[in-house]
Point group: C2
Chain length 302, copies 2
C-alpha cells in the first residue's frame, strides 16, 4: 500500500465544508502527515484515521492553513497516552514556535518529539523502502515541497536462463542486486542476460503552495507516479494566482505533463469557488489523468 488520503482540500479560508490543507501518506504500515491545517485532528476522527499511526509530520510552510492544527494534534496525541516518538520536519522557525505554545500551557508531553528544521534541499528522511526529500517551491515565505520515493527494487530472476547456465541458488540474491555471473571457466555472463528489470520504484510528489515554476520543478518531479500540485485558482483568475504566489489548474496540469507524471491530483482550492468541476475540466485539457483532491478520498500511488 502506497497511497495518499486527502483531509483538507481548501485554501486558507475554510468554506463550503472544505478544510485547510492536510494529507496522510501511507506506505505499508507507516503513516506520514503532510501539512496540518486547523481541524486536521477532527478530519482524522471523521475519516477514521488513528492519530497514533502518524509517526512523521512534514510542514511545508508557516502559513496558518498549513499548520494551525499541529498544536491540537500533538496535544491530543499526548492525551491519548502516546509513548512513541514523533518526528516533525519543517521550516526552522517551527521549533521555537512549538516550544512557545507548549511553554504557555506548561504542557509536558508523555512522548518525545524530534523537530528537524529543513535547512537545504535534499534527503530529509530515509527508511528501508522509501526516502523523503525536500525541495523549495516558490511562495511568499519559505516553502518546501516533498518527494516520497521508493528505493530501487531488486531485479527479477530470469528463471529459464539461470537454469540453462546451471547457476547455484546461493548466487540469486547477488543477481537480483545487479551482479554479473562468472563461470568456472572465467567467462562472464552479464546481469542483463540473467535478470529482468525490477518493478519501477513509485513516487509521490507534493507541491504546495507554489507559483507556477516548470523549469525548477519538472526535473525534480520527472516521471513521478502521482503528483499533487496546488491549483488555488482557475486561469480566469490568473492575475490573482501571480499576485498571491499560487497556481491555476491549467498550470498544475502543464507541470504534470512536462514532468511526465503518471497521474495528477489538484487541490488547495480558493473559497471563491463553490463548484470544483471547472478545475477538473481546465486541468484535463492539458493532462487527462487528473483528479480533484476530495476530502476523505484515498489515491493510490503508481
Amino acid at each position: 500500500m502506497f497511497a495518499v488520503t486527502i483531509l483538507g482540500n481548501n485554501s486558507a479560508l475554510p468554506m463550503h465544508d472544505r478544510h485547510p490543507t492536510a494529507q496522510v501518506v501511507t506506505y505499508k504500515d507507516q503513516c506520514f502527515l503532510i501539512d496540518c491545517g486547523e481541524g486536521t485532528q477532527l478530519q482524522m476522527n471523521t475519516f477514521k484515521i488513528r492519530k497514533s499511526r502518524i509517526s512523521h509530520i512534514f510542514i511545508s510552510h508557516l502559513h496558518g492553513d498549513h499548520y494551525f492544527g499541529l498544536f491540537g494534534l500533538i496535544n491530543s496525541m499526548g492525551l491519548n497516552g502516546r509513548k512513541e516518538p514523533l518526528y516533525i520536519f519543517g521550516p526552522a522557525a517551527l521549533k521555537p514556535l512549538l516550544h512557545h505554545i507548549f511553554e504557555a500551557s506548561e504542557t509536558i508531553l508523555p512522548f518525545p518529539i524530534h523537530i528537524h528544521p529543513i535547512l537545504a534541499e535534499g534527503l530529509i528522511w530515509e527508511g528501508p523502502a522509501i526516502t523523503i526529500s525536500a525541495f523549495t517551491v516558490f511562495h511568499r515565505i519559505e516553502c518546501w515541497g516533498f518527494l516520497f520515493k521508493e528505493r530501487e527494487k531488486p531485479r527479477k530472476i530470469n528463471v529459464e536462463k539461470v537454469r540453462a547456465y546451471d547457476i547455484p541458488n546461493a548466487y540469486l540474491q547477488q543477481l537480483k542486486n545487479g551482479a554479473d555471473y562468472e563461470r568456472k571457466d572465467g567467462t562472464l555472463i552479464p546481469n542483463e542476460e540473467l535478470t529482468f528489470p525490477g518493478t519501477e520504484p513509485r513516487s509521490y510528489a507534493y507541491c504546495a503552495d507554489t507559483r507556477f515554476e516548470p523549469e525548477k520543478l519538472c526535473p525534480i518531479l520527472k516521471d513521478c507516479s502521482l503528483l499533487y500540485h496546488e491549483s488555488t485558482y482557475l486561469k480566469s483568475e490568473h492575475e490573482k494566482a501571480i499576485a498571491h504566489n499560487h497556481s491555476t489548474a491549467e498550470e498544475a496540469a502543464i507541470i504534470a505533463a512536462q514532468a511526465n507524471a503518471k497521474r495528477l491530483i489538484i487541490g488547495h482550492f480558493s473559497s471563491r469557488y463553490i463548484d470544483l468541476n471547472p478545475f477538473l475540466e481546465e486541468a484535463k485539457a492539458f493532462f487527462p489523468k487528473t483528479d480533484l483532491a476530495i476530502e476523505g478520498t484515498t489515491y493510490i500511488v503508481g
Copy 2:
C-alpha cells in the same frame, strides 16, 4: 437579546462530534466570543455566525482546547477584509504568542488588534449597557472566569402617582434615575413613592476550567441569571476531577444552587463519556434548572 450560543462543549480531546470550548455571547447587536478552541471558525460556519460580528474575544487560559482556534479565526477575519478593530482579553502570555505566530507567517492584518492582558480581578470592559469583569478560577495554570452584567436599569414611572402630584414631564428622567421630587412648598416626595423598581439587570457568568470552589465563586456568581459552569466529569470520577483541577456535574449544580443562579448550563465534557444524559440527571438532583451545553444551541440570559 442577551444570549449565549455554544460552539464547542467538549474538553481537550475532541470526539463524538463534540468540539473544544467556544461560546458566543450576544448582547443586542454586539457579539463577544468566549474562548476559541480549534475549529471555532468551522463551527461558526456550521452555525451561520458571521466572524465579522465578533468585536471582542475573551480567552480564559492558555490550554490549547480554549484558544488554538484563535490564530485561524484572526487569519480568516483578515482574509475576509475586516477593517474594524478586534479586542482580545486574556492571560498576559497570549500577546507575545500571537505576535510570534503572525511573525512566522509574515502576516500583516488589515485591521487593528488590541490585546489586553488581564492582570487582576475586576472590570475589564464596559459598554453603555453592560460591563464585563474577570475573576480567577482555580485550574492548573492561570485561568479566568468572566461575568457579563447589565448595568442597573432605570426605575419605572408610577404614572398614577406622578399625575396625582402633578409632576411636570421634565422631571421624569430624574425620577427614573432615582431622584426624589421636591414640591413648591418644600416638601419632599421620596422616589420609591413615585416609581417602581427597574427591570432587574441580567447577568451571565462563565466558569471554565475550574476545580470546585464554592467559597470563592458563589459570592461572585450571586443571583446571576445564567451560569455556565464546567462539568468535565461525573461524580463517579470525582478523583479525576480533583487530580485535573476540573469539576463534576454535581459540583457545578451545587455552585449554581449556593450562588442562587436562575439557570445553569454545564459543559466541557470529557471524551470518555459518549452519552451526556447522566450529566443532566446528576446536576438536576441538586439544581433542577440545568441544561446541557449543546453545540449550536442558544440559551437566553434571564
